[in-house]
Symmetry: C2
Subunit: 272 residues, 2 copies
């Protein structure tokens, strides 16, 4: 029995959404639904149009015998802005203020709906650049790295500050923690990154930039290539920041421990 | 201009897939597409049928004025089995063997396509039980917890072995590491879990069960409720395992360090 167009559209949508940045041939769908390639081709233009109109992303058509379609997730600029504004409000809640002027983020970065948006927003920034891996440092960067890697459909690697026997041989670097001026160590499993990989660094929070700088050194040690740096939130930093080029979704620009107020504004994501 | 059925089907599919376990009213879709509720109702039956036939999950209809539809992600049994078989082969690769008989897993648990399946498989196990949060221990459990939480659409919380100033007040417990008989400490941010929460524990690997047992104690300290325990892989353990009831996707049942062989079979997920 032939599959109806309506059912094909639903299943194609699901299939493509689950496989971002993956080329799927028309033949695959033609076989899957026992339908003519011409019908599949029409289906795909409807999906493409709807994705574009609803801000779901781009369905890219690759012509030729080895061609097919590829789904590129993308967030619409106004949806991204609205989300970042909402996050500014959430981050400004005074009960997030911790001793030492730190801001509690773990609840937000443990919510699937927040991580979905953060992942899409960061991925949208790097649509034009080929990326082989997303890198972050344990523990709080992990959810962000995973969210981004889902939408870019590339693996993520986790740099650790503590050595673990379950990682095998590692490469380590020393780095200066910008905010405390202490020298610390971070390491990455040797087999987790190939030479020449193009790497995107993400993290939850950046103050002095020391941790991000450590990851940059690691990328050099692996003879890999840095594509970009994006953090969920940065805080204004009075000293010399160790990293110049980066993108932030949010900027914590004032923390008043005595009056228990936090002021947060959108980061340089929209202006960079 | 009215939106055509074909475009509605595509957008409804996308909208529901992005919001598992969330009740969406017919009125919402009727407004979104400026269409009659009767048309939306027909759309939803087509989506429901296709989701069922293609093993995408269940589109549950909730009748009444406060009703609507809810998408419950679910993996088909044969797709789950096929994936677990593939993982058995991947885990058996001899170059995963690390000194001490440990098995290198980080590459697999950093791949979005693997995590998607692991998340779906574990979530499918707990469809009938209400869950408020997924709990895991840093660092390697995090990707699994996040994947599961995406499909259950509940937050995940991360237990840590090291104290961090960015977590605020914490509750800590001591636990006995089953494999080494050492007493260690783990802690969880006080504000991350409400009293009475129903908690699902997940982790990457279980040997003696000490870590999982520690998380069980933490759940008690928070006066929360344990719903279940699922690990990606367990290894056969000669001593007394500290945890009785758990589910595993994979079972590493023989590691021969001298001959460099690892034998892995499906865990008790399919028989439990």
């Amino acid at each position: 029995m032939k599959i109806k167009r309506s059912e094909r559209l639903i299943d194609i949508t699901r299939y493509m959404l689950e496989r971002p940045h993956t080329l799927v041939s028309l033949t695959y769908f033609a076989n899957r639904y026992d339908s003519a390639k011409s019908s599949i081709s029409e289906d795909l233009s409807i999906v493409k149009k709807t994705f574009r109109e609803r801000g779901t992303g781009t369905l890219e058509t690759v012509p030729g015998a080895a061609g097919g379609v590829r789904y590129i997730p993308e967030i619409a600029a106004d949806e991204a802005e609205e989300f970042v504004k909402e996050m500014c409000e959430r981050l400004s809640e005074s009960d997030r203020l911790l001793p030492g002027g730190y801001v509690y983020l773990s609840d937000l970065l443990g919510q699937p709906s927040v991580l979905r948006q953060v992942g899409k927003i960061i991925a949208t920034k790097y649509l034009e650049q080929p990326i082989d891996a997303v890198m972050t440092v344990a523990t709080k960067g992990v959810p962000i790295a995973q969210a981004v890697s889902t939408y870019l459909n590339v693996p993520f690697v986790i740099v650790r500050r503590d050595s673990k026997i379950t990682e095998g041989s590692t490469v380590s670097v020393n780095y200066v923690s910008g905010s405390s001026d202490r020298v610390e160590k971070m390491e990455l499993s040797k087999r987790s990154l190939k030479r020449g990989s193009r790497v995107l660094i993400v993290d939850d929070f950046m103050k002095g930039g020391g941790t991000v700088n450590g990851m940059k050194s690691l990328i050099e040690e692996f003879e890999a290539e840095l594509v970009g740096i994006t953090v969920f939130a940065e805080s204004t930093f009075s000293g010399n920041r160790m990293v110049d080029e980066y993108t932030s979704l949010l900027c914590v620009d004032d923390v008043n421990v005595r009056e228990k107020t936090i002021h947060v504004q959108p980061g340089n994501y929209f202006t960079n």
